[in-house]
């Protein structure tokens, strides 16, 4: 009986439960609490559940003590004995002496499951694959019918660059634990693009240590677009402007839709080559869709492939949010800066919309400008909702889809610029 109790006691002492109460183990408990809140928001409130749910569960998994789901593989190197017989050999120079070592594969310890899946994020593979699926699901028709919408997609990227300066301004205050490198500031700023894959891709390239908080902030705010945007839109526009009924869009021919992704790829990728993986895959997906000759590929890209990648991306991004990386003042600053980026981006789009309202002598409803922050199609639906609140028969949805999809291209370009400067 004593032996049984002893072995049970030993097991409990070695378990994750005991680890919660050792050292910084309590931080993992807090992270599990945060993960549960995010799961609640995803399941009950349905805030971006497709990504928030796997992110939250990844966060839960990585914070289980001793779980080791994100552990690095351990490679063991030993000095060469007997001269040869092992592979591979490495020459080690310690300064005073030089000797050869070999990798002892028998003593090698494999990494955790999510460590290997995470390589798709680290190497920048998953976000472009998600973009491929998004391209298959996106109709650029409203943008082709009204190309001026592109300008609103550009204006809404203002949030990115203002937030970049904002993050560096906070850093300049020299508050301990609240400093950001320019690369980290650029990664935080890209939250303003309101585009999850773009934010993850940029952060993975520039500041992978901030991936967890940035992904959580980006997806949380994208889900909160219907709450964040309307007050800004109403504050910056008059009732008269909100009631503008826009002319119906011209029909777009199939040939135009086929040519469009090719033009965008050539122009954007030549101008900002570092945006090629994102924009290239987005446009490839769209070309698949519009060509009408590869239905099987379209179905795979927008369903099976995208779903598989979404699972891997969500879980592994969540798994980067370990207690030591997440529970620090930087995360709180990222949450606030992300909100700031969203607000400035929305304001930039609406203000440019007002400018277009003036130049077109009242033909453009400034409300469609807010849709330029990407967050497809939520931001466009917010424009529709706010417009319909003033005039129930006013349907701005299709007009707002133009700046909305232009915002995807715009945030891709902005990400490319930041990667080319800091990458």
């Amino acid at each position: 009986m004593d032996l049984f109790l002893k072995s049970m006691g030993d097991m409990l002492a070695d378990s994750g439960f005991a680890a919660f109460f050792q050292g910084d183990g309590w931080k993992s408990l807090i992270m599990i609490g945060i993960a549960c809140i995010l799961m609640y928001l995803a399941i009950v409130k349905q805030y971006e559940p497709l990504l928030l749910l796997p992110i939250a569960f990844g966060m839960l998994l990585v914070n289980i003590p001793l779980g080791g789901v994100m552990d690095y593989p351990k490679m063991v190197f030993e000095p060469m004995q007997n001269g040869a017989g092992h592979f591979p050999e490495l020459l080690v120079n310690t300064g005073s002496e030089t000797f050869t070592v070999y990798q002892n594969l028998e003593k090698q310890v494999n990494g955790g499951l999510l460590y290997y899946l995470y390589q798709g994020v680290k190497l920048g593979i998953y976000p472009p694959l998600i973009f491929l699926g998004i391209g298959c699901m996106t109709d650029f028709g409203p943008l082709i019918a009204n190309p001026k919408s592109f300008i609103l997609g550009a204006a809404a990227q203002l949030g990115i660059f203002v937030t970049f300066l904002g993050a560096l301004a906070i850093s300049a205050l020299n508050i301990p634990g609240l400093t950001f490198t320019p690369e980290q500031a650029a990664s935080i700023a890209i939250i303003g693009g309101a585009d999850g894959p773009t934010a993850i891709y940029t952060t993975g390239k520039l500041a992978p240590e901030l991936l967890g908080p940035i992904a959580v902030a980006a997806y949380s705010y994208m889900a909160l677009v219907p709450v964040i945007q309307p007050p800004i839109m109403k504050a910056l526009t008059s009732k008269k402007e909100r009631m503008v009924v826009m002319e119906q869009l011209r029909p777009v021919s199939k040939t135009e839709k086929i040519i469009f992704p090719i033009i965008v790829t050539l122009v954007v990728c030549c101008l900002v080559p570092s945006a090629t993986p994102l924009i290239g895959m987005l446009m490839l997906g769209n070309l698949f869709k519009e060509s009408g000759v590869v239905d099987r590929l379209v179905k795979t890209a927008q369903n099976e492939l995208m779903n598989i990648v979404t699972i891997f991306l969500g879980v592994t991004v969540g798994a980067t949010a370990s207690a030591e990386k997440f529970l620090n003042p930087q995360t709180i600053a990222i949450i606030f800066l992300g909100l700031f980026a969203f607000c400035v981006g929305t304001a930039g789009g609406v203000l440019f919309g007002k400018l277009m309202y003036v130049f077109t002598k009242g033909k453009v409803n400034p409300l469609i400008g807010s849709a330029g922050v990407s967050a497809v199609p939520m931001a466009a639906r917010v424009s529709q909702k706010v417009g319909a609140a003033e005039k129930p028969t006013n349907f701005l949805l299709m007009h707002a889809m133009g700046p909305n999809v232009a915002g995807v291209i715009g945030s891709g370009v902005a990400a490319g610029v930041l990667i080319s400067i800091f990458g």
Partner: protein
């Protein structure tokens, strides 16, 4: 990179490049759109020109009233519209005979199905 001048330079360069990229796209897409619109217009005018003699040359039944219809409306479409009107009138209890004198497109207003689709898409808010 550490001075504020460089940080501002990054921010301004970034926003300018985004605008340049999208303005170039506006120009190219507008040009392509205009080319296709003019091609469509040409095609339509050609096809209307070809169809015209058919309409005017077709024999008119003795009991058919001369009527004005928009260009491009075939006899089948006119018959379908007339049948739909008859159906609605019968449903509303109007049994008096009627004549369709002209058919014109009622502006750009949305039809009922279009409206229903839009409402369906925007209702979740």
């Amino acid at each position: 990179m550490s001075s504020w001048a460089e940080f501002f330079n990054v921010a301004i360069t970034g926003i300018v490049v985004v605008f340049i990229a999208l303005v170039v796209l506006i120009i190219i897409v507008s040009i392509v759109g205009k080319i296709f619109s003019s091609l469509d217009t040409k095609k339509n005018s050609n096809s209307t020109g070809n169809d015209q003699p058919k309409v005017t040359g077709s024999p008119v039944p003795a009991d058919t009233v001369a009527m004005e219809a928009e260009d491009g409306l075939t006899d089948e479409v006119v018959a379908a519209i007339t049948a739909a009107i008859a159906c609605v009138m019968t449903e509303n209890g109007v049994t008096k005979p009627f004549r369709v004198k002209s058919i014109q497109r009622a502006g750009n207003s949305r039809n009922v199905w279009n409206m229903a689709g839009l409402l369906e898409n925007t209702r979740p808010f």
